[in-house]
């Protein structure tokens, strides 16, 4: 186990927001570390690393990150706050445990996808939308595969176009929102993009073929495919913020002020955890937090106004994808809600509160610790997500013992 190193600024999350924050803090002369659980920095937007992307934006941040000294702690996950300025960090690829001390902390922990259950959603081959994109970016050979993309949000057409470039046969992009809301996105994908359309059920015949039942403009159609990617937008990863004691709103976003400062002194938050807004907003917020955490007021001033402009545009875009009532009524009595513990809808219906349901059914008590079913039970039953308990992420008994020694 390594001794605890102290950095003036520690960033958790190496996506666009975290990279921008780390660069700005390092450029301001601070010692900086970035902790990320992936093998390569980049987050979801730049999965696989900045050097894989030919965009001007990626090249710019690659250059900035290489021009300064930053310690990248990859394959590492923060599981606890050991003391007010010390993080307990577990390796994801070994049994190693270490502590990292910070002067200022910047949370850039991103978001995960919102899944809403429908019959068959646990069958292998059914994934999230960003999930299928991430798997493809990490080497999944999707060439010639028949794919249905479904759910809601601006990610659907983006992923559809991207998967087509990888050679996938995208049969249908099913957007649940009505056309008048999202019309301008349709053109980019082509005739496969269909609004007022959603997945009702999926079944498998056992040999990797999926039969997807789809509701389209009042009709029910069946589409045969190999992969179904379905998700309904994003949920902020605010568990670590809760663990630290930052104020988190009921919609799971972290409360921040104009300088991205949370309710906990010295702790900042940027990107999707403060409200879903996409990579451009995250990059602007990362810069604000990086300069603010470094006390670099001169550099901070100009990025504040830019951040507000980008936020406004992206928030308008996302507001168009309000979810229709039908989506919340797709699960049947035997549809699994908590995938870790195999708890079905029918066994949860009699409970008034999530806490009682958890104690009696183990709903939310598996390895994902409610990260997938928590947002579901909030939306289906109105249950509050409950408090985050230590450790913030599953650790092995060996790691737990090593943490206790610290």
């Amino acid at each position: 186990m390594s001794n605890d190193t102290r950095y003036e600024v520690v960033v958790v999350g190496a996506g666009p927001g975290g990279i921008a924050a780390a660069c700005c803090a390092a450029e301001s002369g601070k010692s900086v570390a970035v902790i990320d659980e992936n093998a390569v920095a980049g987050g979801q937007f730049w999965r696989g690393g900045l050097s894989q992307y030919g965009t001007r934006q990626a090249s710019q941040w690659l250059k900035r990150s290489q021009a300064v000294s930053i310690d990248w702690l990859e394959n590492a996950r923060v599981v606890a706050l050991r003391s007010p300025d010390t993080l307990a960090v577990c390796r994801t690829d070994s049994e190693d445990v270490r502590t990292v001390r910070f002067g200022r902390l910047i949370l850039a922990t991103g978001a995960r996808e919102l899944f809403l259950p429908f019959p068959g959603w646990t069958i292998p081959g059914v994934t999230g939308v960003g999930a299928l994109q991430a798997l493809t970016k990490s080497g999944l050979d999707i060439h010639g595969k028949r794919v249905v993309i479904a759910g809601s949000g601006p990610l659907l057409p983006v992923v559809a176009l991207n998967l087509k470039q990888y050679g996938a046969d995208v049969l249908l992009v099913a957007e649940q929102a009505p056309e008048d809301r999202v019309g301008r996105f349709a053109a980019s994908v082509g005739e496969q993009y269909s609004t007022d359309t959603w997945v009702e059920r999926v079944s498998s015949n056992g040999d990797g073929e999926l039969a997807v039942d789809i509701r389209q403009s009042g009709d029910s159609i069946r589409v045969q495919c190999e992969l179904l990617a379905c998700a309904y937008g994003l949920v902020p990863n605010s568990e670590l913020a809760s663990l630290i004691g930052c104020r988190v709103r009921p919609d799971a976003t972290i409360e921040v002020d104009a300088q991205q400062s949370t309710s906990s002194a010295g702790v900042y938050a940027v990107g999707e955890v403060t409200g879903v807004g996409g990579a451009n907003a995250a990059i602007m917020e990362g810069q604000v937090a990086g300069y603010a955490a470094s006390g670099n007021t001169e550099a901070l001033e100009p990025v504040l106004a830019q951040r507000d402009r980008v936020r406004e545009i992206t928030e308008r875009t996302y507001a168009a994808y309000a979810l229709r009532e039908e989506i919340f009524r797709l699960a049947e009595d035997d549809t699994i809600i908590c995938r870790c513990e195999d708890v079905a809808l029918g066994s949860l219906l009699s409970f008034a509160a999530g806490r009682t349901a958890k104690l009696q059914t183990r709903c939310g008590m598996g390895p994902c610790q409610g990260r997938i079913c928590g947002p579901i039970t909030t939306r289906l039953f109105g249950w509050s997500s409950g408090s985050v308990r230590l450790p913030g992420s599953p650790v092995s008994l060996g790691q737990l013992a090593a943490l206790g020694d610290r």
């Binding site: 659980e37 992936n38 979801q44 996808e113 292998p124 081959g125 059914v126 991430a134 990490s138 995938r339």
Partner: protein, 84 residues
Amino acid sequence: MGNDDLSVTINGTGFAVSPTTSVAAAIQNAGITQFRRSVSGSSRGPLCGMGACFECRVMIDGLAHRRSCLTLCRDGMEILTDVE
């Protein structure tokens, strides 16, 4: 896929993969859809693709419960699916 210069074994069978391939992708490319079984025995594979759901966990080099979507293939890696 390009430069397949690593070799891994999945359930004892050898596969050539590129160094940027995640274990999850390598398993799926090998034609395996069931990564593990749920507590009541039903078939499961990756859901979130980014380390949140724990559905894609497999045994890697003797370590159980590794999230295959977060792990990149390394030369000589031994991957076992469907072990709990």
